[in-house]
Symmetry: C2
Subunit: 330 residues, 2 copies
DNA sequence: CTGAAAGCGCTTACAG
DNA sequence: CTGAAAGCGCTTACAG
């Protein structure tokens, strides 16, 4: 494809290819005069070293593998944005891997390893400790640096960046309680996400501290299916608060509640997690926990670069700050 | 990293490394007995060929480069999902490149080429024909197959997959006109996206066919800034219809209109483009053009595989079907 | 059908 | 400071 090789540069600059390689990788080892000459030729020819050949020779590909389950989820996109920006800054390329079915975990990992990436960012937050274990073991066995990006797990020795979901949910629940709510529901997802599990725990802690009764419901994300469930919850209960694991669920719940004549937030307070653009577009405007998803991506990529370069890393489990955004539903 | 090499397999299977390579790449050239023996060893050892070495030797990396401008945009995520799924199916890896600033175009392209990908999917839909030209020329010069994924351009000879935005906007506008609306605004984006340009054209065609007066406004995506503009539009005019280039803008506009007491859709019809999950969550529920963004990704990836393998491709400019989703605002 | 050998485009000790 | 040479782990004509 790219016809210009290191040989072309070398012959044109009247040096050996070793020298060209050095001005690229260890410029300080080359006499300034030679270096400048080579650099000029590189520039003239528009030479870029073949990343594949370089990867083979140096056993470093300056590529990181990003493992995702469901690309489609909105938060993933922003997190990827953060990852990309920082990767670019540190000159890493990004290879994307998706694990569509749990059965594919090991196979995907073999792929990742075969692709010779220098490190892995794991954003697959479906809660399956056994599978997570496989991931960790596979990667450890080849000494591949890994960081969990917004994935909560019991592996305390794996570098992680995220937020303190437990605390965030705790604070949010507590805030509702302080506002006088006594029948607060937690609406989680049917599918198990590790982060949602933590939110649930935080909710439970606040509820039990206040001696209230915990009430947890689970929904699929699907609006059509939610409708009857939400209606049922709102019909049969003296519910006066609802915390949803995701903004979209919260808005969906909010809509049903309003349709049924509930005054928000007097009769019913509602809150979600994420603070997407659409939180502001709901009516009334949704209150929620703001998740710095872009930053989570950026910071985890940065952490990974440190790990790949054996830099000293003070903190391996980074919790980014969260915030309660109070709008109109709380 | 991966310690098991083709040599290990060869010696254990008592064949030469050439034979191992053949069972992997040209199995039909190997005697069945030998093939099975080798396959067994591969299995036992869990051998995966080093993709980098393979890429260097064969000059095929079975990797495609995906060039994106703003990862953060919601539609990109779903499109990426389609790309990933099909890439996986055809055993291609995906490398992600972002072009953050226009100045980076050429530099990013050099990166892409240096990374030795076998083909490129270009999803950067900011309208800049000159820059698009650079992209095309750079890639053509190294004979790199490329497909424009949801990018509209004047380069009719570049394979493209998307929808007929002009027609979609035309139909949508026409539908509003048929419903008796006479003062229909088109609300586009300040930033130039090639697809939005087409939408504008379709809108204009329908408007002029009906001898109505075209009215185009542009907004940033930012809700805070939109508010006053929308208020202004709604205040000063006998507007009775609004088509927004994006769902989020449509919902935002809808909210302001309702706040000002407009009855939807009697006083004012509103429609958007995309059909995100949130279109259903607005109140009243947003009518819009449904864009098959996942499919656009999937189909363009499929098209690219054909191009990379020099398969005959009947259609190089694929327009996927769109649809008007009528909910409550139209 | 199989093996020996050259080569893909680099990096990196090793000499000098 | 610079060059000759080996080697990274594969693929692929070329013989046989």
């Amino acid at each position: 494809m790219n016809n210009i090789t290191i040989y072309d540069v070398a012959s044109r600059a009247k040096v050996s290819l070793a020298t060209v390689s050095r001005v690229l990788n260890n410029p300080e080892k080359v006499k300034e005069e030679t270096r400048i000459r080579v650099l000029n030729v590189i520039d003239q020819l528009g030479y870029r070293p073949n990343a594949i050949a370089r990867g083979l020779a140096s056993r470093k590909t300056t590529t990181v593998g990003v493992i995702v389950s469901d690309m489609t989820r909105a938060s993933i996109a922003e997190t990827l944005g953060g990852i990309c920006d920082i990767a670019k800054k540190y000159k890493y390329a990004i290879k994307l891997f998706s694990i569509m079915r749990v059965e594919d975990v090991e196979d995907t990992l073999k792929d990742v390893i075969a692709e010779q990436v220098d490190g892995v960012l794991y954003l697959n937050d479906e809660l399956e400790e056994e599978n997570l274990k496989k991931v960790v073991e596979n990667l450890k066995s080849v000494r591949m640096p890994i960081v969990f990006c917004n994935v909560v797990s019991d592996f305390s020795n794996i570098p992680t960046v995220g937020i303190n979901y437990e605390l965030a949910a705790y604070e949010l629940t507590k805030k509702m309680i302080e506002k006088g709510k006594k029948n607060i529901y937690f609406i989680s997802t049917t599918r198990k996400y590790s982060v949602n599990d933590k939110k649930e725990q935080g909710y439970l802690r606040a509820i039990s501290e206040a001696n209230l009764e915990p009430k947890i419901e689970r929904t699929t994300g699907d609006t059509e299916i939610n409708q009857p469930l939400f209606r049922y919850i709102l019909d049969n209960n003296k519910i006066d608060g609802a915390i949803a694991a995701r903004d979209s669920i919260a808005v969906s719940f909010l809509n049903v509640a309003r349709f049924m004549g509930k005054r928000i937030p007097e009769d019913l307070a509602v809150a979600g997690f994420q603070n997407t653009r659409y939180a502001k577009l709901s009516r009334p405007m949704l209150s929620c926990i703001h998740l710095p998803v872009y930053d989570i991506g950026a910071v985890s990529m940065r952490l990974l670069t440190k790990l790949m370069n054996d830099e000293e890393t003070v903190e391996l489990n980074i919790m980014l700050p969260h915030a309660i955004v109070e709008r109109e539903t709380l």
